[in-house]
Symmetry: C2
Subunit: 359 residues, 2 copies
């Protein structure tokens, strides 16, 4: 059975402003020293088990050209443009419908396009194991991340081991998905040893997920069948638009994962990072002996624990601590590390002032 | 008797880097909201008592064009280029020699080009009073600034009142000039009520200062006579270079003021500011309700007591306090307010790396 990958690349994250913009979201940025974009890294790390021609990217119409430029190896017909954003269930269903035109059945890896993986070999090993589990009819697999601290920004997976379900070594049964906790709850989760971070990475068979759409989201399922049938015909665009207009906005977590049975999780320990905001840069890149993560043309004097991302000009820092500094062609951000969540206030301000060119 | 002004504009201050550069020192920058440069403001505020044609600017050869551009009203022959920097005594002497070719005698105001005056009418009143005092043969007047805090970066003037010298109301005798004090001494000076800040502004008659050159710096005096004689002849440039090569580097304070008698001071209360570093900007410009001094395209979120000088792009600040942020076309400075003296370390670093284009 072929292994295919669905890379979800429609996100419009604002937390990497001013580098990320509505016209250039995070997945299309290079945030690591190798110069490759998150999108490129996501595709590339799958190559040991997925060919480029079996990679499918679901994105927004306005990002199709970015995907083509950054991943010319992926066949253009595999780059799927959603007419409107309807959250992850229709997004994944759309890809499944198109894959269904190519393969009768296939393993499907469903992956965000803007996460980083440090240990790629381990990642592939986990994916191979997940595919094995997913080969059994009806099994849905979600990749859990072993938590290292009480993060309040992620959903969690409460896992356990069913009687008689221990045939897969290192594979656990999902008891329930839980929403982003408060800090006290997050600490309890961490201490209990029974919770993993929900990474948003899924593995299943095409046939299994289509059955689950039919079971839990039957209206969406009907639309997906229509989309699949119309693919390659002159009516495709119109059918796609009509179906997406009717689709209920629904996440795959709420729509299927939380309602289906036979949900398994495999804990990943492969250096996953969701690169959620500027602070991630000092986790994923080297810091120097002063604790600074510096990119570009930067002179630091008496400066500690700062993240400095230079643009085309020199940045000189004197007597600073705990700041994030980012220069781009038309905007500079200087932000206290403890306030990165308030970068969105800058964007709100720019929206109010109708300065769309900067957003 | 005509009143002339000598504006000293040869300084190469580094403390306004990255706005100031070796090719564009502070006196040629606009740091106030009116858009005028320090140089322009210096000339303009003298207009009630000095005509442009009686203003003389002594500067470095490489700044002559800047002076011409910024002050086209001043006759080109009044812009005097020093072949080499020899501190203030030869600088002032050079101007005196040239003024001597135009007027047999004249009142001479000697002024830095890079200070600010808030109350210009009061400033003119003080200057008029100083000219009155200076009209008496042999009198040298220095303008003292009433200190408002124990500054350690200025020299001080210890003043008093001689018996029989109280004929000039508000005019005091200089007992001695003292160097930049340590903080304890500065506090004593402030508490004593017997010390003023030395502003580097002087008033005297041409004839008086030339006599003092002859008395205390006779070698320089001879050179000045040669320079005056050569002015307007084809030999002027060569004579000037020869004389300046031989001149001892000497400040007017050490060379004459500290050795001459009949030194008077008039305390000025006209909102003087030497604009010594970036922190001056919040003294000389308005700060907003968050204590921020902001120029240009700036969005501040949870930001307090910062100085932000924008360039051509947006600067967004989030969660900052007590910083100086300056953007220019090729360099950005972000500096803790308590570390502005270390901006020079940036310049040292750039010198070591031979990045002269940024200095």
């Amino acid at each position: 059975m072929k292994t295919t990958a669905v890379i979800m690349a429609g996100g419009r994250g604002e937390r990497f402003w001013p580098k990320s913009r509505s016209t250039l979201p995070k997945q299309f940025l290079s945030l690591t020293s190798d110069g490759k974009t998150m999108m490129q890294l996501t595709a590339q790390r799958l190559l040991p088990i997925v060919d480029y021609e079996d990679m499918f990217v679901v994105t927004n119409q306005s990002y199709v050209n970015l995907v083509r430029e950054q991943l010319p190896q992926i066949p253009p017909e595999n780059i799927l443009a959603e007419p409107t954003a309807r959250n992850t269930a229709p997004c994944i269903g759309f890809a499944a419908a198109i894959i269904g035109r190519k393969y009768e059945d296939a393993a499907m890896l469903v992956l965000p396009s803007d996460h980083l993986i440090k240990f790629e070999e381990m990642y592939i090993d986990i994916m191979v194991q997940a595919i094995e589990v997913a080969k059994d009819d009806g099994n849905l697999v979600t990749i859990g991340i072993t938590p290292t601290y009480p993060e309040t920004g992620y959903g969690y997976i409460n896992f356990g081991r069913d009687e008689g379900e221990d045939k897969h070594r290192g594979v656990y049964t999902v008891k329930r998905f839980v929403e982003k906790p408060d800090i006290g709850t997050a600490k309890e989760y961490l201490a209990s040893g029974q919770y993993l971070w929900n990474s948003g990475m899924f593995v299943w068979k095409l046939s299994t997920i289509m059955e689950r759409f039919n079971e839990f989201l039957p209206d969406t399922y009907k639309g997906l069948l229509q989309i699949g049938e119309a693919f390659g015909t002159p009516e495709f665009k119109q059918t796609l638009e009509q179906c997406f207009n009717l689709f209920k906005s629904e996440s795959i977590d709420y729509g299927i994962m939380e309602r289906a049975s036979r949900i398994y999780t495999i804990p990943g320990n492969f250096g996953w990072d969701d690169v959620g905001n500027w602070l991630a840069l000092e986790r994923i890149n080297k810091t120097n002996e002063s604790g600074n993560m510096v990119q570009g043309d930067v002179v630091t004097i008496d400066t500690q624990n700062c993240i400095v991302v230079g643009g085309k000009k020199l940045i000189a820092t004197v007597g600073l601590e705990n700041l994030v500094i980012v220069d781009t062609d038309d905007a500079i951000l200087i932000c206290d590390k403890d306030c990165t969540q308030n970068v969105k206030k800058v964007i709100e301000n720019l929206k109010i002032c109708n300065r769309t060119e900067l957003i």
